[in-house]
């Protein structure tokens, strides 16, 4: 599903260059649930942004579902994001004047799905995250956990190949975090490939594979038996 070879990325800082990613080799198969761990400055967010075609590496090769991701125009990048990827952010990033349902429907709008079908599909995914009753509510009327679940429904709505989550539990308390992780595990059980960036070890333990990043390099890549999130709620 994901094939990355010798990925480099550096940012200009003043006159100098800050080498963030120093040659990363990484691959992920379909159906994996992977967490990417590292302290701040380890390059994990940059890595995720490149995976999410929100940013581009300087060197190296990136194959997403056998499609090379290199020198894409804005238009093609937008298309790939829409087709291949679903995003979950730490700060949810819902559009505050749209209802939960309309937020979930937004990726489908950009796929050109008509309104009726869009709302039907969105309601289906809201039901899946247990928020069908909240469809007509604005984000400001939802709790943090509910917002993140709407965001997850939105990420699922376009039926992407890969879900990318950047600190999905970073803004939530422990109990709510585990509820969200439970939902993520359920989605993974249905076969979706999911990548989570986190710095919380207990969250990482709920995934099937932990990739440790330090100073722009993968220092450890281990497969583990995931802890069931439900057990901790």
């Amino acid at each position: 599903m994901i094939e990355i070879t010798d990925l480099h990325k550096s940012y200009p800082v003043g006159n100098r260059k800050l080498h963030v990613l120093k040659g990363i080799n990484f691959s992920a198969q379909e159906g994996e649930l992977i967490s990417i761990m590292g302290s701040s400055g380890s390059g994990k967010s940059t890595f995720l942004n490149i995976l999410g075609i929100l940013d581009e590496g300087d060197e190296g090769k990136y194959l997403l579902d056998n499609t090379p991701i290199k020198n894409l125009s804005e238009k093609v990048a937008a298309n790939y994001r829409n087709q291949f990827l679903g995003f979950i952010f730490q700060s949810f990033n819902l559009i505050n004047y749209k209802t939960a349902l309309d937020n979930v429907a937004l990726p489908l709008y950009y796929q050109g799905v008509n309104r009726k079908e869009r709302l039907e599909k969105s309601l289906f995914y809201l039901e899946k995250v247990g928020l069908a009753d909240w469809a007509d509510h604005l984000p400001s009327e939802l709790s943090g956990g509910q917002k993140q679940r709407v965001a997850i429904a939105r990420a699922l709505a376009s039926d992407p190949k890969v879900l990318l989550a950047d600190e999905p539990t970073g803004a939530l308390d422990t109990k709510t975090s585990y509820e969200v992780m439970d939902l993520i595990q359920q989605i993974n059980d249905e076969g979706k490939t999911i990548l989570i960036v986190t710095h919380e070890p207990d969250i990482a333990k709920m995934t099937k594979r932990i990739v440790h990043l330090k100073d722009g390099l993968i220092i450890k890549d281990e497969r583990i038996e995931p802890v069931k999130a439900m057990a901790n709620v």
Partner: protein, 416 residues
């Protein structure tokens, strides 16, 4: 292209962001409103000031027949010169491209006029349709002499204020259609004019030129010729042109009637433009002044609309980032912002436009200020103003929208 899905999305954004929509709309419509009011007041001031200063049309050229003062080609002095219809036809044909208004006027004093038991003595003017403009008079009832009246030698008359006061007790509306008797010939009153030129100008009775020549049996005397030339903005050019025109016509007539070229009395002309410099300068000054006001207000309107558009796009940077992360293409982002801004600008612009026009109309109907006459904005000017502001709003929205559409989603989404 019209796309119902896109418009649904835009209407949602507009209707869910009521405050933002309202503020944008308010700034745009108040901008247009102020612009329209200013343009209207400027127009009214212009008309009012003009009216205060104008009495006779300042561009009129008159060619008079007279009595020769010098002998020439064996002819004695003191010979009376008279113009005939073919002279007039020749001049008007030859100078057709230059002439704006044209008429011949044959004046007869002592028009003894009676209506029922009232009577008076006024000046009888045999004239042509264009003379309404040449005399700078305007109708307050009925109509002026027409080409058809000329052709039919109709016995119709357009009265000034004096005969109306004497014969009809000032009731000018009642005069229309009445039969009055001038020197024992019956005429039908077809119109009443007003002239700011003075008391003398109020005592004229205009009848068709062909009718007066018939009554007085004057087929070979058409009286004087009067013209105005096509307007020219620049005073010096206009004056030179008028002078040249008057001299050419005069010389041609002098040659025809064997008048000595230096004879100042045989055929003479009067060029009103010579004394019209101050009027021209005033007109020019007013024009510059109000163009200045108009352009400055338009600029302030454009700045206002652009400013709002910039703020809106800035405020929506994060939303744009989210939309891009979800797969919105740059074009879709630009389209969304442009559609919204154009839609709001058009609707609120129209509201401001009509509010301005209504207010001007109220001012127009309720205020009597001498220097403010008829403060209206020509509709096409108003529409052009609106279109300029809409285009300005679109451009002002487009630049930041394009910029925003190029921002990388990670930058837009970065938490503060």
């Amino acid at each position: 292209m019209f796309n119902i899905e896109r418009w649904q999305e835009i209407f949602e954004a507009i209707s869910k962001n009521k405050l933002r929509t309202f503020l944008t709309g308010l700034s745009v419509s108040s901008g247009i409103f102020i612009l329209i009011i200013l343009l209207g007041v400027a127009e009214g001031l212009k008309k009012g000031i003009k009216k205060q200063f104008e009495q006779d049309i300042p561009t009129k050229i008159q060619i008079f027949p007279g009595t020769t003062s010098k002998g020439f080609k064996g002819l004695n002095p003191n010979r009376r010169i008279k113009f005939n219809t073919s002279d007039y036809a020749h001049v008007t044909e030859k100078y057709k491209p230059e002439i704006q208004y044209q008429a011949t006027n044959l004046v007869k004093y002592g028009g003894v006029t009676t209506y029922e038991d009232k009577n008076g003595n006024y000046i009888l003017y045999g004239t042509m349709p264009d003379n309404l403009f040449l005399a700078n008079a305007y109708l307050i009832a009925g109509r002026f002499i027409s080409e058809k009246d000329l052709k039919n030698k109709a016995k119709v008359v357009v009265l000034g204020q004096r005969p109306i006061k004497d014969l009809f007790d000032g009731d000018y509306k009642a005069a229309i259609g009445k039969i009055i008797s001038i020197n024992s010939i019956k005429f039908k009153v077809i119109g009443v004019y007003e002239d700011n030129g003075g008391e003398r100008q109020d005592t004229y009775m205009y009848i068709p030129h062909s009718t007066i020549t018939r009554i007085y049996n004057l087929t070979n005397d058409i009286g004087r010729m009067e013209f105005t030339l096509n307007p020219i903005e620049d005073y010096t050019t206009a004056l030179n042109k008028a002078e040249d025109f008057a001299q050419r016509v005069t010389n041609q007539l002098k040659a025809k009637y064997s008048v000595h070229p230096d004879d100042l009395k045989g055929v003479r002309y009067y060029n009103a433009l010579e004394g019209g410099k101050s009027f021209y300068m005033l007109n020019f000054g007013l024009k510059i002044f109000f163009w200045g006001i108009g352009i400055l207000t338009l600029i302030s309107g454009i700045v206002g609309v652009s400013n709002i558009m910039l703020i809106i796009v800035k405020e929506r940077t994060k939303e744009i980032g989210i939309r891009k992360a979800l797969g919105a293409q740059p074009k879709a982002i630009v389209n969304m912002i442009l559609h919204e801004s154009i839609f709001i600008t058009i609707i609120s612009g129209l509201i401001g436009l009509f509010a301005g026009i209504i207010i001007l109309d109220i001012i127009n109907n309720n205020l009597e200020i001498e220097f403010l006459l008829n403060p209206t904005v020509p509709f096409n000017v108003a529409v052009i103003t609106l279109i300029i502001l809409i285009i300005a709003g679109a451009i002002a929205g487009y630049i930041p929208a394009r910029h925003a559409s190029k921002i990388k989603p990670i930058v837009a989404l970065r938490d503060e």
